[in-house]
């Protein structure tokens, strides 16, 4: 089943393949046309042959019948003559004289009769006419078969053919038996008919036929003996040998035809009976001649068929070699068109042969070649355009792209001169943005003002369509252009506007040295180039714009990063600096422009070598790399600085790592604050613990049981405890004040104050007290001053205490009050060593002390001046240090008209 299906499939494929073959299809068409034709011809041939054959046979038969009829008539008349003679008394009575006249009349009347005779009842010749030359009278002829037959017959009949002994000629005899009224046999009367005379007719017929027809005609008797023939020597021969079958038919009294193969040729025989004598006529002729027409016709038909077939084959062959094969070759050739690389040499050769043919195939081949050239040209154009596109897309330098586009235009359109003319903002005119082949002079002078309406370029730009001048010498619109065109050597110009949107208008212009009408194809191609050029110009312009924006942004970012106080570094995967800001360069002690590309390890080494403890710093750096962050102390410009270094991986927008970043942050100030906090804690702790220690010490001393202290000592101890308690209390008050000042919750209770009295009280309460060293200067008439007396006393006391502490025991202390415009200024001065200038800006800060570390010049928490400032500022005044050549002067002011707000 599968095999069958397979076979079917293969058959189908073969059929399909054949269907695809034009030659086979034509052949099939031809066969479909010719086969019925052959059939028809063969049928016609067959029918026509039959008809012709029957015609021939009929003609033959008719001839035979005609001869038979005629002979029958002759023989019939002879039989009648014999019957007539038999009734004659002279004959019956064997009267010689009577017979003579009777017989002579008959012989003379009928030329075919050569003898009339009378036999008696015994068969003895009684008389014959003519009587001479030979007389057989008296001869016995009773042996003759016809005599015996006559003894039993009453009717006349013909004897068989024989040689008459009387006339010595071949004869047949019309025999009339003679009988008397008593039925006695009297003998016979016979009329000898010369067979030659019967043959005369046949001779005439035979003579009408050509010898090659092999025409034969015989009259044969019932035993097959030839009784008449055109050839006299055939007479009385037997025909059996020649046509045995015919005789039977003829003797049966039938007419018909028969074809008999004789020796080496075929004969057509027709036969017809001669009833009166029981004879037959046989007409024969060679079939070759009989059927010559038929054969001719058949040959003609066969020839015609052969011609049709051969012509068909030849036609098909011719069609195949002259049309189909060339078409196939052309098809194969056309298939290879558009594929890169040269054609198959065989194909190429075949095409060349076909190309030179003058007929339609040649035309087709030439068209194909032309088409191929066209395709190649179009492909080249497309490639060039593609290349141009790629260049436009890949290059942002419009100048480069434009000159490349012009180069392509030059190559593809085979022009020597072309240019891109664009609006120039600076020159306020259209100028050649790029050109090729134009003289430098021409290109330079190519400046078209905006209102130059005659300019082809401007007209093209206005209409937005390509415009051309086919010949500058004949075009009336080119009159103005003509001198320049002549000078530059061009005759035809085409301007194609560029479809620019974001950039000033521009056009692509090409020049031809000869008059030239630009084809639509050329214009289309140039339009494509114009589009590309527009794209290139726009790309470049847009890029330039976005680039400028990007650069601006980058500059801002750069400025931001460069201005950062933190040092920033970005390293690539190879451990080299990708980017570092100025601060980092500074940290690494390298010029900023030399840092890029340097190995990061080298940078780090340069930083680490500044470390206070390089080993520790190295370990810290290692920790930073591993844990992300570490702190390193560096000594920079003689100053110890603290840095926090942070490592982090840097990824792009997609999260792909692009390197590692590090930030070095100067945390010296933070550490300073930490240290200050620690210092504050230790200060407060010290200031609180010192009086506490004294108190606890003395209390424990008093409580100790191993020593009995005398009352004086006890009193002394208790006195110290009391003083230290006051100190502690004062410190707590100061801290609270400071906390209120810094917390903004200080309440100022203003009342009219007596400044002189406040100064005295502050001096008394000061610890240490100024004693005799204090001098107070105050105007006699002070305007009333509204302030919080407790605050002002604290300020004064603190300043006096400071003056005592820092001025030294011997230093005079002066407190002076002045009224300046709308404020009162109080100055507290000593003649001590003064405050080092670098500390002056800080002395009003809380817990700021001039000394550092654990060294204390004088006791105190460093709160005094900060509290002073807080109180003074809460009153709307100011506090400051006044410069003095020797000693310290701290001044503060209080406004005479206090602000409404009583809360600082």
């Amino acid at each position: 089943m599968t095999a069958l299906l397979n076979l079917w499939q293969r058959f189908k494929h073969a059929i399909l393949a054949l269907q695809r073959d034009l030659g086979v299809r034509l052949l099939a068409l031809y066969v479909a046309f010719v086969l019925p034709l052959i059939g028809m011809v063969l049928y016609f041939d067959h029918v026509a042959t039959q008809r012709l054959r029957s015609d021939v046979e009929t003609a033959n038969l008719t001839l035979a019948s005609t001869i038979a009829q005629e002979t029958n008539l002759t023989l019939g008349s002879l039989l009648s003559a014999a019957q007539h003679l038999g009734s004659e008394p002279a004959v019956l009575e064997s009267d010689v004289e009577g017979m003579r006249s009777l017989f002579a009349a008959l012989v003379n009347d009928r030329p075919e009769v050569n003898l009339v005779y009378r036999l008696d009842a015994q068969g003895i010749m009684r008389y014959h006419y003519p009587e001479e030359p030979i007389s057989t009278v008296g001869a016995d002829f009773s042996f003759r078969p016809y005599f015996k037959r006559a003894q039993n017959s009453r009717l006349p009949f013909f004897s068989r053919g024989r040689i008459s002994p009387t006339t010595n000629q071949a004869v047949v005899t019309a025999v009339m038996p003679l009988w008397d009224e008593h039925q006695n046999f009297l003998g016979i009367v016979g009329i000898n008919v010369r067979l030659e005379s019967l043959s005369w007719v046949l001779e005439n017929i035979s003579a009408a036929h050509k010898p090659e027809e092999a025409f034969v005609v015989y009259i044969v008797d019932n035993i097959g003996q030839v009784v008449a023939s055109p050839n006299s020597h055939d007479l009385l021969t037997t025909l059996d040998k020649r046509a045995p079958a015919l005789l039977t038919l003829a003797h049966e009294g039938q007419a018909g035809n028969a074809i008999v193969n004789q020796d080496n040729h075929t004969m057509l025989y027709s036969y017809a009976p001669i009833r009166s004598a029981e004879w037959g006529v046989v007409v024969g002729r060679s079939t070759e001649s009989a059927f010559a027409t038929i054969n001719l016709f058949r040959h003609a038909t066969h020839l015609a068929l052969a011609v049709v077939v051969i012509t068909g084959v030849l036609f098909w062959f011719g069609l195949s070699t002259q049309v189909i094969r060339p078409i196939e070759q052309l098809a194969a050739y056309s298939k290879a068109i558009g594929q890169d690389g040269p054609h198959d040499p065989k194909q190429q050769k075949a095409l060349e042969r076909l190309y030179n043919r003058p007929d339609q195939v040649g035309h087709l081949a030439r068209t194909l070649v032309r088409m191929e050239a066209d395709i190649a040209a179009r492909l080249q154009e497309l490639r060039t355009l593609l290349q141009t596109s790629a260049e436009v897309a890949s290059t942002l330098d419009s100048r480069t792209v434009l000159s490349r586009i012009l180069a392509q235009v030059e190559r593809l359109l085979n022009v020597q001169k072309c240019a891109i003319i664009a609006w120039d903002e600076q020159k306020q005119a259209f100028v050649a943005r790029a050109s090729r082949g134009l003289s430098a002079r021409y290109a330079e002078r190519l400046i078209i003002p905006r209102d130059e309406f005659n300019s082809l370029t401007l007209r093209a730009l206005q209409t937005g369509k390509p415009l051309q001048i086919s010949d500058t010498e004949t075009d009336p619109s080119a009159v103005g252009l003509r001198p320049r065109a002549r000078a530059e050597g061009y005759r035809a110009v085409l301007a194609v506007p560029l479809p620019t949107q974001h950039t000033p208008p521009a056009a692509l212009v090409v020049y031809y040295p000869e008059p030239h009408t630009f084809t639509q194809q050329e214009i289309d191609l140039l339009t494509s180039f114009a589009n590309h050029a527009a794209m290139a110009i726009e790309n470049a312009a847009l890029f330039a714009r976005s680039d400028a924006r990007l650069q601006e942004q980058t500059r801002r970012l750069e400025a931001l990063i460069q201005s950062m106080s933190d040092a920033i570094l970005l390293e690539d995967h190879n451990g080299r600096v990708l980017y570092a800001n100025r601060r980092l360069a500074e940290l690494a002690e390298l010029p900023p422009d030399e840092i890029s590309g340097v190995e990061v390890d080298r940078i780090l080494a340069r930083i680490i070598r500044q470390a206070q403890n390089p080993t520790a710093a190295h370990a810290a750096l290692q920790r930073a790399v591993e844990e992300g962050m570490a702190e390193i102390a560096l000594r920079r410009q003689g100053r110890l600085t603290d840095w926090r270094v942070q490592f982090f991986s840097v990824t792009d927008v997609q999260g792909v790592p692009i390197g590692r970043g590090q930030i070095w942050k100067d945390i010296t100030a933070d550490r300073e604050v930490d240290r200050m906090k620690a210092s504050l804690m230790s200060t407060v702790s010290h200031e609180l613990r010192t009086p506490l220690a004294a108190i606890k010490g003395y209390v424990s001393t008093l409580l100790a049981e191993d020593v009995n202290w005398d009352p004086e000592s006890q009193r002394e101890f208790l006195q110290t405890i009391s003083e230290e308690t006051d100190r502690l209390s004062q410190l707590v008050t100061d801290l609270l004040d400071l906390s209120r000042i810094e917390g903004g919750s200080l309440k100022v209770r203003r009342e009219a104050i007596d400044l002189a009295a406040l100064i005295q009280r502050a001096a008394q309460n000061a610890h240490p007290a100024p004693g005799e060293n204090l001098r107070v200067q105050i105007p006699e008439h002070m305007p009333p001053l509204f302030a919080d007396p407790r605050h002002i006393e604290v300020v004064l006391r603190n300043l006096i205490e400071n003056a005592v502490k820092y001025g030294g025991e011997e230093s005079p202390i002066q407190v002076s009050v002045t009224v300046e415009s709308d404020q009162v200024v109080v100055r507290v001065e000593d003649e001590g060593p003064g405050i080092p200038p670098e500390h002056i800006p800080h002395i009003f800060e809380s817990f700021y002390r001039v000394e550092s570390g654990l060294t204390r010049q004088a006791s105190g928490a460093g709160l005094g001046l900060a509290i002073c400032r807080g109180f003074v500022e809460a009153h709307g005044g100011k506090i400051w240090v006044e410069p003095r050549a020797k000693g310290t002067c701290i001044a503060f002011s209080l406004p005479l008209t206090p602000p409404d707000d009583t809360t600082a």
Binding site: T690, A704, D706, W709, T720, L854
Partner: protein, 232 residues
């Protein structure tokens, strides 16, 4: 005790009240007391007198206490007790590292002060013990109690009395893990037991002096959270 009572104590504090409190209490208990108001003054007084013990404040004008310890340690092994208002451990360790023998945080009672004074003086005294061998040999380390001398591979090593006592105690109990409080009680005195930082400082100092590589100690082994042991 009589011997101790004859000790001369230098009391250094800028706060008069506290200075007086210490002076009066030591004085009444038989110590000779010399006072100084700041570091500079203290160093001068130390040179001028035969001082057995220094009681020192840290926060002082002109020269602070830490600097005084440093200066004193350049010239002497005299016991030093620090009195300070600064109670942070860092300061304590700093002081001990510089060579202070004890540290008292203000405020304190007179009893505590006297106990520390006695303990420090006692430690400074070379103890005469008959029951124990005077020479201990552990590996290359030889400790001679009588001559108050320690050698490693025959090279003498200078140790303070407390360092010497600590090493001796550890060597005597070589191979045994000794707890912090055990060591403190035996070396510093029965008043001690909680001052683990003292031990840290002294073990550190001993390691600097006797270990070939102080960062990877061979002899003085730390039992984390428990104490220390000597491995010969």
């Amino acid at each position: 005790m009589a011997n101790q009572n004859k000790a001369t104590v230098l009391v250094v504090d800028d706060a008069k009240s506290l200075r007086e409190f210490v002076r009066r209490n030591l004085d009444v208990r038989g110590y000779r007391v010399v006072t100084a108001v700041n570091g500079v003054d203290a160093l001068e007084k130390f040179q001028a007198h035969d001082i057995d013990l220094v009681i020192l404040d840290l926060i002082m004008p002109q020269m602070d206490g830490l600097e005084v310890i440093k200066q004193l340690r350049l010239i002497s092994n005299v016991p030093i007790i620090v009195l300070s208002a600064l109670g942070e451990e860092t300061t304590k360790i700093q002081a001990l590292n510089r060579g202070a023998d004890d540290y008292l945080t203000k405020p304190f009672g007179v009893g505590e002060l006297l106990a520390r004074v006695q303990a420090v003086l006692r430690r400074a005294q070379p103890t005469t013990s008959t029951t124990q061998p005077t020479v201990i040999v552990r590996g290359p380390i030889v400790l001679d109690r009588e001559r108050h001398e320690v050698t490693i591979h025959g090279k003498p090593v200078a140790l303070t009395p407390t360092e010497f006592n600590l090493l001796e105690y550890l060597m005597r109990n070589a191979g045994k893990v000794l707890s912090h409080s055990e060591i403190l009680r035996h070396v510093w005195g029965p008043e001690y037991g909680q001052e683990a930082e003292y031990l840290r400082v002294y073990i550190g100092r001993l390691r600097q002096k006797i270990e070939p590589d102080p960062n990877n100690p061979r002899y003085l082994r730390t039992e984390r959270g428990v104490g220390y042991a000597f491995e010969a």
